[in-house]
Structure formats: C-alpha cells, structure tokens
Subunit: 157 residues, 2 copies
Amino acid sequence: MTMKPMKAGDNAGAADNMFVDSGEAGDGFLRIGEMAKKFGVTLRTLRFYEDKGLLHPHRDGSTRLYTRRDKARLKLILLGRKVGFSLRDVKQMMDLYDPSGTNTKQLRLALDKSEKQLARLQKQRDVIEDAINELSNSMTLVRKMLAERSTQTNSAA
Amino acid sequence: MTMKPMKAGDNAGAADNMFVDSGEAGDGFLRIGEMAKKFGVTLRTLRFYEDKGLLHPHRDGSTRLYTRRDKARLKLILLGRKVGFSLRDVKQMMDLYDPSGTNTKQLRLALDKSEKQLARLQKQRDVIEDAINELSNSMTLVRKMLAERSTQTNSAA
DNA sequence: CCGCACTTTTACGTTTACGTAAATGATATA
DNA sequence: TATATCATTTACGTAAACGTAAAAGTGCGG
C-alpha cells in the first residue's frame, strides 16, 4: 500500500474547511509544486514572495508546506498584482491584518491606496487612449504615403 | 573662423522645419543644452539616444551640434516613445530611412510595427479596464465592511 | 587671471518581478 | 542500486530608459 504524495491537480476542491488545524500531516497542505500549479505561478515566484515576506509557509524539514491561509494570502497577492499594486504595497496592507481585531486601519489603508491606484489606472488608460489615437493618425498618414507611391509610376527626389 | 564641414548631399533648404529658433548658437546649430530645453528632455537623454545610434549630431571639437535633421529625428523618436515603441523599434525604423529613395520598405515596416503596437495598446487598455473594474468592486466591498464596523459599536465623538 | 556656467566621458545605480543557472539534497519508483 | 522527479539555497542576470555622481576640459565675462 503505497501512500503516494498525491499528484497535484487531484485535490483541487477537497479539503477546504476553515477550522482544521491538525498538528501532524493533514491534507490541504500543498508542497510548492502543487501550490504553483494550483495558482498558475512558478516555483520561483512562490519563493520570491516568501523572500519578500508575503508568504510564510510551514516547513517540514526544509520542504515548504502551504496551508489554507497561504492560499488565501496568495489569492490576495495575485488580486493585488492584477489591479496594479506593487508587492510592497500588497505587503504593507497584508501586514496590517489582525485576525483578532476589526482591521479598521487595514481597511482604511487599503481603501486609501485603492483610490490612488484607481486614479493611476484611469490616468494610464487616458495615456493609452492618447497613444492609440496618435498611432492611428500616423498609420493613416503612412497608408496614404504608401498609396501615393504605388499610384506613381516613377519619381525622383 | 571655423568652417564646419557641411554635408553636401543633404537637403538644402527643404521645407521641413516647423519651429523658428530663438536661442541658437550659430547657423541653426543647437548645443546640447539648448536642444534639451527645446524638446523638454535631459542632456542625459540626448547623449543616451546618441549612444544608442538614434541621433548623430555634428561635432565642433568635442561639443555636440544638433542640426535641423537631428531635430526632425528627435521629434520622431519622441513620437515613437509616446505611442509606446521601444527605442530599438524606433531605431530599426529610422535606420531604413533613405533620403534618396521612395522609402517604401521603411513605410511598410513602420506600418507593420504600428499595427502590432496598436494591438498591444488595445490589449493594455482592456487589461486596465479590467483592473479598474476589479479594483472598483473591491473598493465597494471594503467600504461596506468599514460601514458595518462603524455602525456597530461606538464612534469617535 | 579667476570663477562660473556649460560641456565632456566613464561608469555604476535605479526600479520591479522575477528568470536562470549551479550545486546539492530528499523522496519515490523501477 | 540506479534513475527520475521534486526540492533546497545562493546569487548573478534581465529588461528600459535613463539618473547620478565623478573628474576634467572649454569659453567667456570681469
């Protein structure tokens, strides 16, 4: 009876309860490879996040074991990245999290940062719109120049 | 009396200038500081562009002298940057410019690159729109959480 | 002749989020 | 045992577009 270490991808939505805190080996602990696959990131990324203090997986000897908490944190990190926060910002916000409190300060900070980030995003969008317009204009010009060249039989500068 | 070696094959009096200069040193030759001020870039930027082969100002000894041609090129560079081209792309397109030809190949390359860049820009815009929406949603959530917290107990008088 | 503004070259620093070895260890299967 | 897969740490590399000294040369007014 070989207890395999369970290939990643087979345990996607199984153990997801919030109150299991087994001291020994319980399922729901992912090794780095499984964690990476589950979230579509690389091993390097997970180690990097840990190095930056964003994740704190348990250890079995030297092997990282990711818990439900780590999954929640990673989910937040990836959301933060998606909306354009730097990892530093994400960390700053996460560091304020206190499971035994109201987290009002954390929420305020998050909201504050979010407002600024939203402004940045809107500005970026405007810049891009501008670029799109300018580029479109240039392309129209170039197309005209090419059209002229192809209708002309010959010419010299 | 320093006779600067004028390039013979250049465009003598071509109708290409868009600005009238006021602070030039000599016959329409700008020194680096004037050039920088005129275009709103730093000295470092001009030297950097030269180092990358995007600009080729003349020299009076060791002093850079920017001609009308350099101004036109810089204008193009800055336009390229604005619409999101890399300096490498800009160089690649400029390197194909031949004042004695029809420049069909250059125009085609520019158009090709432009189409791809336009696609990238539109994609970026979409990503940003996505981010804006996600962030807005998160903010709504956070606001609700904060509202709950403040309607519960207390309140700072 | 002095000082000051301007310019020159060289070259390392900055930013962000990882990529990419290199060398080694641990576990599992054949 | 041999092989394969997964894991570890350390640390330099990457990309883009310059920033920022550092140390020295050039030109002009006073």
